[in-house]
Amino acid sequence: MSKTIFPPSIKSRPVYATLEPRPGKAHVVIADGEGADALGEMLDKAPDRAGMLAAMHILYTPGPNGTDLWAKVQGFGAAQTYRAPTIPAMLPRLGKVVSEAHMGTQFYVTGTEGLMGQAEREIMMTGLPFDAVQKEHRGSTLRRVQCVHCKGITENVAMDPFVCSHCGLSLFVRDHYSRRIAAFQGVNIDAEDPGLVPAAVERFK
């Protein structure tokens, strides 16, 4: 079961489990922020930790809340360990790793929903089997939200409602999640009564 407690009622939200070590020819880990802890716990369960690390490529970036466990990630001693400053900066390298993955490669994606959604989308586009990808949520619940009106994506949304960073409309965050876009849906909150925007509350941290 996921170690992050989510509010109920979000039926399009993916269900996250905990990472389990699986036998594989290669192990690709994509993590941000507190995802480093999930990786550490998974390695502690591995029957052949040294063998797994010898075939492991870790792509890591700090979390949107600033959590940076790079020293811990480096300390695992994987065959390849890479630090990206942001998720978008990581994606080109991830694309190459994914496109060159062979059958028998195991993917472990852990950290925030924004990281997992974007990594999963990259992996899905290659047609790799879905069950070769494990995900575990850790850390921030900040949301990546697409404005349904202008299609622009606002990253790391904490407040609800919030102002779209592209078109400026006030949006409420609908509990509707697209894996293809890797984002929740934002809908104009004052469309029927322009100007009547309720006070924003912090819903995501």
Partner: protein, 356 residues
Amino acid sequence: MSLDFKPDLGDFFKEETFRDDFTFKNSPAAIARFPFPFDRDDYMYSVNMEPHAPGRPGSVFEKTFDVDEHYVSEMIDRAKVLAEDPLRCQSLPHMTLAGWDLLELIMDSNARDYPQWFSLHKNGNQWHWINRPLGIDQKFTFLDESTLPYGPMEYITRQMQGDFSLQDERDGNLWMDAGMITTQADWSLDFDVGMNFMEWHAPVPLAHEKQIFDRALKFLLKLQNGAPVRRFNWTMTVNPLLDTAPETYPKWGPTKTTLTQDNLGSKQHLRVELQALFRLPRSNAIAFSIRAYLGKFEELVTMPKWGRRLHRVLRDIHPDIATYKGFIRNQPAMVEWLAKHDDGKPTSPGWWPTPE
């Protein structure tokens, strides 16, 4: 905007608009065959599916796809929506074969059911399609995309009333991987394309807890080619606006605040979706047709049974459903207006307007 067809209204099809001056209305004949969706005086979600078999002559169930007096004007409206926002029609790359399946189903059905309007001649894969109301005469090679001006799904659904989505079946689920969606009740194809059955239904209230979607999915996975099924859905729309898209909600949302007791009868529409599902032969995908019918309150109450029943349904509906369907703010005004058309007499079972 230029159209790539040359409409011929003849003496059956009406010239009318679903935007700007909103001249749409139903003729008395169209009101008499309106698919009133309530078969009793109350409403709750259910898996209300039945075989999509040819129905009562003259009704919207008579043919596989209903083509009515609004056909030509609806196709002009669709062309305008697509010109403004091409993302309303999308097909993921693996769905082209399903698009051909859909094109064949529609062309075969319409040429058979409406020979006065549509013709299809096949010589092997060399096909010749004629659509007289839209002035289209197209020779093409079946299964060869390069011989049509659009992909097969977009080509044929630019000539069909109602929205269409195509569901790929894999991993024991249905994935909405293509669609032509311009007459939708406030949902976004661009956001939902690629989702599975549970994901795209996620925002619907109450029904998940009642296991509606689990049962519906199990039912649909068993759907067989040649044995389509259908169901109703419904909502409320102010003005005869077919394109109530979330994308344009800031434009049409404010119209919900314009209702008065004087204009409600002509501005408030019951929006009924006749939804049919077809298993497709080559792709094994499922085509979902979502045909929207708009009926003004003042038109519907010309059938006394419908006036009584609509009043009772809206008066007693679960507030979560009224909220999800987007009419909770106008529910009291609707009920007040409809109360004048409810004399308290009992209504007969079933949705037909007679017996009362």
